[in-house]
Symmetry: C2
Subunit: 290 residues, 2 copies
């Protein structure tokens, strides 16, 4: 065997020798939308929404799925995610973050498909709902993840904790429910977490796990980053901001404390809300200080 240069090596390299999987991106696109409020003196409540698409073809025909698609040979994974987001919503320059890569051999019945999931946060005001998709059935679903059972069993070297969740996705006329079980194992020092789909419901592939994972990530990150502002328009009231936090965290916050916490992330404007039915509220803007 003679010594090859790198250029020579690359010339003779045959990539097709090794079996290769398909690679896709799947987008968990979140937004926050006001709930209908008949009493116009009261403020509307907000719902966290995720965008799903009804599958027209096999596999999982007529099930709902996250928007996504194949990564092209010449684009980066990030670029594929941006492309999918823009195809689905018409938006660019939006907050986006890679979440996790899912690679169980059987996760797609067609063939080996590895999928890289992304989370995007958008301001519902910016979007003309389902921009330019006539054929496809795309809808915003209200997301809720509810803990149903939480059981811990002690073992010799730690414990096994099993948590059952219901992931509920509701659009006006459609309601999907998936049951998930998270298993947290402590064996000695090693902690393992695993979440499995128990009852898949009408959600395609392992997309329930992706949505659940995205929810967890968002709930964590909202505590120590400024991602929440991506769900609001440029001008907002502090109550709206607080509602976003409350909707994502799933519990109420005390007004005075909340305002103290975010006071150096916002800057007040001299504008106020109008036609309120009560005392108008000052509008604020996001300002990154750190």
């Amino acid at each position: 065997m003679t010594t090859q240069s790198e250029a020579e090596f690359l010339k003779t390299y045959d990539a097709s020798k090794y079996p290769r999987p398909s690679v896709t991106v799947d987008m968990v696109i979140f937004t926050i939308i006001d709930r209908k409020q008949p009493n116009r003196r009261k403020l509307p409540e907000k719902d966290l929404k995720v965008l799903l698409i009804k599958r027209g073809g096999h596999p999982f025909k007529d099930c709902w799925a996250l928007p996504g698609g194949f990564v092209r040979q010449t684009e980066s994974i990030d670029a594929a995610a941006c492309r999918e987001l823009s195809e689905e919503t018409g938006l660019a320059n939006v907050y986006m973050e890679q979440l996790y890569t899912w690679g169980e051999p059987q996760r797609d019945p067609r063939t080996r498909v590895i999928s890289c999931s992304y989370m995007a946060l958008i301001d519902a005001g910016k979007i003309t709902l389902q921009a330019g998709d006539d054929a496809v059935d795309a809808k915003w679903f209200t997301v809720k993840k509810i803990l149903k059972r939480d059981k811990r069993t002690l073992t010799k070297t730690g414990f096994v904790q099993k948590q059952k969740f219901v992931l509920s996705l509701v659009a006006d006329d459609t309601s999907l429910e998936t049951q998930l079980e998270k298993t947290i194992t402590i064996a000695g020092k090693v902690r393992t977490e695993d979440e499995q789909i128990i009852v898949p419901g009408q959600l395609a592939f392992d997309h329930a796990r992706m949505i659940s994972y995205a929810l967890d990530r968002m709930r964590n990150k909202i505590e120590y980053t400024d991602i929440a502002f991506n769900l609001l328009p440029e001008f907002f009231t502090l109550t709206q901001l607080q509602q976003v936090y409350e909707t994502i965290l799933g519990h109420e916050l005390l007004k005075a404390n909340f305002r103290r916490k975010i006071e150096d992330k916002v800057i007040e404007t001299d504008q106020f809300t109008e036609v309120t039915g009560h005392r108008p509220s000052r509008l604020y803007k996001f300002l990154s200080k750190d």
Copy 2:
């Protein structure tokens, strides 16, 4: 077109229609090893180490690289990562976590390769250095990531911050240096982070970014999880535990405060260190309470 059942659809599905990338895993395996201490009355200092392998073939011949390899068609990505870890270190049942998936089209000169990076934390005591690899040159490198420059430029809608880092990797006779530039952009509400290799040095592929990413992840996670214990043996002194935290965080901690912080994560044993040259120290064990 007639209506197909899912079974019929799958029978006729041809996966080779779409171009597919190769998918690999790359392992960032960390451990902590005592530095030589000639004065036997003094405690040894500790270094954070990462395992690198010298590449025997093209591409990046004679460069150093993270251990890793192709994901097989029938195994999950996690399984591939476990397999690589065990091939390299002989260890199983070790703390491991998926980090990030790297998919720039040109990151591998051979062909399109998408790589999923994992971090593993192991107790150096458990390992017989480079178990069973005769041909390959594998070494533990002391890792340091040093901020060299930090410049922020204001823009109309936020700022652009550029941080230059040097990633330094040192084994007894080998010293690698890579220069990285992290760019943090705030444009309105949207925050973007991107890290690029400026001067690659003798590190193969984009592995400098993977190591840098892993370091950041570990520094973050050590603050709010118990991953540090994976770097220690079953019995350890509180000073050893503190040294692990200090080594990873890169700065000293106050003893009294540190002990208060970790007191409900450990349980004391009735054993003490021996042959010390000074007052012996009580040995503790990890105990998960949460």
